[in-house]
Amino acid sequence: MSNPKDNAAGAARRGHGDAIRNTERGAEDFALASRHSRRVRLLKRVLPAAAIAITVVFVGYSYLFSGTRGAIDLASASIEGGSLVMSSPELNGFTSDDRPYKMTAERARQKLGGEDVIELEGIRAHVPVDGDNFATIQASDGVYDRGNNRLDITSEIALRTTSGIVAKLDSAEIDIAKSSLSSSNPVEIELDGTKIAADSFAAEEGGKVFVFDKRVRVTIDPSRIRETADARN
């Protein structure tokens, strides 16, 4: 589809230059011009309609295909440098054992036409852990793979659970549906008086099983445990 602007300019230039010599050719130019304007009128309607259609398809697609994996709602979306940039997206969904999780980010970037991968900045996740406890996970950047509902966080992570666990990890791969988390980099977990450090860590079955591997170091400070135990009951 040649660009409408060039045709118009071409017709005008031909017409302008030979106006005196061949007025009888006016009819041909007139036909050309009217065909052009018809085409412009057509495009004026078609182009916006196509734009709207694409947006509807995209938003619909991400909403529909989220299925149990959670629906994305966006505060605003813009297109920058070939990727869709969403500000403060929020993802809500349910894990395999039907417990709600929520993930928000300050900004999310998805390459247009790229596969199901969204780069996230300023991540906060609220994920169910063991029993009826919840973990809030904070990290500066990571990649959310919508295809298999995985969040790979490449920066330092702060994790805190309602049961009082405080954890610092250097990276983490989180499988949201299975609510499992693993990290192949050093991790430090602390609670009340017990500190566990190791070079790799995995929390499986929603935190029912914790596996620390490679150079496990546990420090228990009985006095602090007694303090918090007394404080608790």
Partner: protein, 160 residues
């Protein structure tokens, strides 16, 4: 018969920090157990315990093993156990430690308790960690006829 000796060193002093190291730690929330494996070492003050594996069983009273808020019921240690305190060393195949009664039981084909050059060999060493009171029982079914073998090196008492 068995021999009584004071094992003053082998005491778990109440609030000194305990440092545990191992290659791997698996905390199984539902079974209320944490399993340390791969040259496990436990240090508290002068007391050191080394073993191949140590299982920490938590009380069922609701606290969670993973968060450490549950209190410990008992420890089960195996994979050639080595226990050392200021002046005594005891070795055996496996050991259990009950947190409530604070009793450590070290057992195995050959439990060796040594203090300096004095060596006592038996099959079961029971230590009251509260006061360090230790009791070594002989091996019922071995050719030693259930007697404890004791090797006393003359003059070792005053050389300490």
């Amino acid at each position: 018969q068995d021999s009584q000796s004071r094992l003053t060193g082998l005491q778990l002093s109440g609030d000194k920090p305990i440092q545990i190291e191992s290659e791997r730690l698996e905390v199984r929330e539902e079974d209320n157990v944490a399993v340390f494996s791969g040259n496990v070492s436990v240090v508290q003050g002068p007391t050191l315990l080394k073993a191949g594996r140590m299982k920490v069983y938590y009380l069922q009273d609701g606290g969670s093993a993973a968060t450490g808020s549950a209190n410990i019921d008992r420890l089960e240690v195996d994979g050639n156990v080595y226990v050392k305190s200021e002046n005594q060393v005891a070795t055996g195949d496996s050991a259990t430690f009950d947190m409530k009664t604070e009793v450590l039981v070290l057992s195995g084909k050959e439990v060796v308790l040594s203090e300096g050059e004095n060596v006592i060999v038996g099959c079961r060493l029971t230590v009251q960690m509260k006061n360090g009171q230790a009791e070594l029982d002989g091996c019922k079914d071995t050719k030693a006829g259930g007697r404890v073998k004791m090797l006393l090196t003359p003059g070792s008492q005053n050389r300490q």
